[in-house]
Structure formats: C-alpha cells, structure tokens
C-alpha cells in the first residue's frame, strides 16, 4: 500500500513538473520569438516589463486573462469552447511518453525521467496524438461560423494529412536501425555517438520539414495566414481561449524539437561525458545532467524554428501540396528502400 502511495505521489509530481515546465518554456519561447524577430528586423523588442523585458510573457498572459471572451452569436458554442482545450490537451498529452533522461534511485525507488517509461508503442502514440491534435484547429475553424476561420480549419486538416505521411515514413529508417518503438530504447541504441543523424540524414531533413508543417510554423502557417485569412482558424477567438491555441503551438514546437533530439541526435548521449564526470548509473546527478543535455540539444532546434519564421516567406497553397506529395513522400519512401538495402548488405 505504501509503495502504491509513493508511486502515485511521484507520478503526480512528474505531471506537475512537466505541465508547468511546458507552460514556462512556452512563455519564454514567446519572449525569445519576439526578441529574435526584433534583432532580425533591426528593432529592440520587448524591454519594458522586468529586466531586459524578461517578464513580458507573464504580462501578456495576464492581459489575455483579463480580456473579454467574445463568442460569435452564430457560433456553435459547445465546439467553440472545446476546440482550444483539445488543442492544448493533446499537445501536452504527448509528454506522457517522452523521456528526458534515464532514471535515478531515490530512497531505493527507481524514478524514471518520463511519466510512462518503456511503452513499446511510444513513438506510435506520439504520432497518433499529434495527428489527432488537428481536430482542435479544424473544430475551431468550423464552429466559429466564419468563412475565413473555416478556410483556416480546412487548410490545417489537409496540410496535416499530407505531411503526417512523410513524417511517419521518415521515421521508419530510425525504427529499422533501432529495432524498437520504445523511445528509451531508441535513445539507448544511439549510445556512444552512434547518432541516427549520421545514418539517416535524409530522414532527418524530411522529418524537420514535416515537423514545421505539423506545428503550423512559417513557411507552413497557412491555417492562420494572416494576410489572406485575417487570423485563420483563431479569427473569432479572444482572451485566454486564443491564448490556449498560442500555447499549443509552442508546446508542439517543443515536442517536435524533443523528438528530433531523441530520435536523431542521441537524446541524452554525449560520448565520454558521463565517464569523464564520473557519474554512475542511477545517481540523481547523472539524471540531472541527462536532462540538461536533452534540453541543451533542443535549444538550437528551437532557435531554428524561430529564426525560420522570421526569414522565410509563406508557401503558396499549391506549392505546399506539391512539396508534400511529390517531393517529401517519394523521398521518404526512397529513404526506407535505401536503408533496407544497406542494412541487408552490411548485416
């Protein structure tokens, strides 16, 4: 009974840390997005709230909470209310299987750095959840009863369908090398600098492009496309409901970066780091360093996401579709075939 209690306490604590960590990460990503865009456009950016403007995001969230929540008269009220919840809920649900490190022993109890470690369909769960996340956007677009919103919602579902395929197929190569769908095992198979990026460069590029499309970031932000569609799917949202969509976008960005690190860049693996520091398997310090390594590896990708948004123009819709179906999909299939042939030869 006691064991059961300890385990649920640890689980609750982990969930608390992950949800709040994500919220703070999203808040600071927004801050850095604004700062980096300012540097790129030769502006100063937010610098009034707190030192260097570091508390800007909290002021923004406070504003969103105080803002009037407007629901259009002809909107489908139930779906209008539930759409942002679906978006953010599913974006966070993915973190049930994402590991940020191995484990440590705390008073004889083995504590993993993920909520559900060693799920043997972990990767499929992430892919499935991220494909279900599109309903938030689609429903938001439809329930607003506004043609711009509807167009945004339709675009998001068409885009998601097109790029989900190449995203899934780009990971098949990684699966063939690692031989597992369990994220922890995929990371463990890359130990000692045998990162998948060296064996699957094409797979990584396809995954990167699809991840941009799946997170609706420029150059693939057609669902919101502000010059054509006002605000796209979130035109009719205000206050914190809009804030939730915004939050979901940044959480999805963090998810995409975490997946790139775990699947292609060895996760918490850095050759000789743990041996040099003399950290033994299962110590708290080692787990902390692992967590730091994963987050540290994610930062360049997050920067890439932000930098791309402020340097590339948006795709035209037909370009988006032909890139997805005529370039990404055949390349992903070719990648699988080539990986298979090479594995056959060298085995």
């Amino acid at each position: 009974m006691e064991q059961w209690l300890v385990q649920s306490l640890v689980l609750g604590l982990k969930m608390f840390l992950i949800v709040n960590g994500l919220l703070i990460a999203a808040a600071y990503l927004v801050y850095f997005e604004r700062k980096i865009s300012a540097w790129i456009q030769n502006r100063i950016g937010p610098n009034r709230v707190g030192p260097l403007g570091l508390f800007q995001s909290f002021a923004d969230v406070f504003k969103l909470y105080l803002k009037e929540d407007i629901i259009p008269t002809l909107a489908n009220k139930g779906f209008h209310a539930i759409a942002p919840v679906i978006s953010i809920g599913i974006a966070i649900a993915v973190y049930a299987v994402i590991p940020f490190g191995e484990y440590f022993y705390l008073g004889g109890e083995k504590v993993y750095l993920s909520i559900a470690p060693h799920i043997n369909v972990g990767l499929l769960f992430i892919l499935g959840m991220s494909s279900v996340g599109v309903y938030g956007l689609t429903l938001a677009g439809w329930s607003s009863n506004n043609k711009y919103s509807l167009l945004g919602g339709l675009r998001s579902s068409a885009q998601m369908i097109s790029y989900e395929l190449s995203m899934g197929l780009s990971l098949i190569g990684v699966l063939m090398i690692s031989g597992s769908l369990d994220l922890m095992q995929i990371v463990q198979s890359q130990t000692g600098g045998q990162w998948n990026i060296f064996f699957q460069p094409l797979g990584f590029i396809i995954f990167l492009v699809s991840a941009f499309a799946e997170t609706n970031r420029t150059p693939f932000d057609l669902p919101e496309a502000e010059p054509e569609l006002v605000g796209g799917y979130h035109t009719e949202y205000s206050g914190m409901k809009f804030g939730l969509f915004f939050l979901a976008e940044y959480v999805n960005m963090v998810t995409a970066c975490a997946m790139m690190v775990l699947l292609f860049f060895g996760g918490w693996d850095v050759p000789f780091l743990y041996e040099t520091l003399g950290l033994e398997q299962g110590s708290v310090l080692r787990a902390l360093v692992q967590f730091g390594v994963v987050v540290g590896k994610m930062i360049p990708f997050l920067f890439l996401f932000i930098q791309t948004r402020w340097s590339l123009p948006r795709f035209r819709y037909d370009q988006l579709m032909s890139l997805g179906w005529k370039v990404m999909l055949p390349l992903a299939l070719a990648n699988i075939a080539v990986t298979g042939i090479i594995m056959m030869i060298f085995q």
């Binding site: 499929l124 499935g128 494909s131 309903y135 689609t138 439809w142 579902s157 989900e164």
Partner: protein
C-alpha cells in the same frame, strides 16, 4: 472486481454511448466527433486486451487520418440543413434492422455459449499484441494475404488518381 473489469466496463459504456450518439446526432460534425471518441474508447478496449500496437494504430489511422478526411468533407459540404438528413423509411432500413437483430442474436449465442464471459489472458497471448509479434506473423505466416492486400490498395490508389484526372480533363 479486478482493475481490468472496471476499465472494461467504463470503456464499453463509453464506446456504446458514443456509438449511439453517432447515430442520433442531427449535426454531422457532432456525429463525426462522437465517432472519433468511439475510436478512442475502442483503442482503450484494445489496451485492456494487451493489444498495444492495435490500439496505437487505431488512433493513428482511424482517429488521426480517416476521420480527418471525413470531417474535412463534411465541413466542405457544410450540411447545415437538418432536413437534408432526415430519411423516410426505405427497404434499406428494413434490411439494416434485420441484419442488426441477426448480429445481436449471434453475439448472444457466442456470449452465453461460453461458460465465462471474460477469460484471463495467458502470458503467451499477452505478448501477441506487441509490434514485434504482429510484424513477425504478418511477414511470415500471412505474407501472401499481406502482399495481396497491398496490391489491392495500390490498384485502388491508381484508380482514384485516374478518376480524378478524367474529371479534370472534361471540365476544361
């Protein structure tokens, strides 16, 4: 009662409730959403049977891909008028009802014919749901049906592209 039975009851009730809601909802989008929830409940049922791979695929393929297309089409058609969906009685309804009755009868026979409704899974069966075991069986024992289905799907894809192309030419 074991955890599995409790989980099964919750998921089964959820599956039935959402299934009924698919049929009785007047709003096509609400129907589609209920169907998605139904798929989630089914995925949960697969999990209680230790079929993790099937559960993940259920969400990935049905809830994540096929239903997105269905919702897409429903929204494009924008079936706002509820009257467009009300159907008068036709022979199809009669056939559907009789088929349903037959199915229930069959299920009843299967269910009451067995001494127990719910059997504990053996250790061997528990391993059958993983991706590894499904893959192994699929590519050894069921290789021919697997390839035949792939070919069938390929034919369907080529056919749909051909149909789409033809229409485009006529409209020009």
């Amino acid at each position: 009662m074991s955890t599995t039975v409790i989980l099964f009851s919750i998921l089964a009730i959820a599956a039935i409730a959402t299934g009924v809601s698919v049929i009785i909802n007047k709003n096509p989008v609400a129907s589609a959403m209920s169907l998605i929830l139904h798929f989630f409940a089914l995925a949960g049922l697969y999990l209680t049977l230790n079929a993790q791979f099937l559960a993940a695929i259920q969400i990935l393929v049905y809830a994540g891909a096929i239903m997105v297309l269905v919702v897409f089409v429903v929204m494009l058609l924008n079936l706002g008028k509820e009257s467009a969906l009300t159907e008068r009685f036709n022979p199809r309804t009669g056939i559907a009802v009789s088929m349903g009755v037959l199915l229930i009868a069959q299920l009843a026979i299967a269910f009451f014919g067995q001494p127990t409704g719910y059997n504990q899974l053996s250790d061997k069966a528990a391993l059958n749901g993983t991706a590894e075991s499904i893959g192994t069986v699929l590519f050894t024992e069921y290789l021919f049906p697997f390839e035949a289905i792939s070919l069938l799907l390929l034919v369907a894809i080529v056919g749909s592209i051909l149909l789409a192309k033809k229409q485009q030419k006529e409209s020009v």
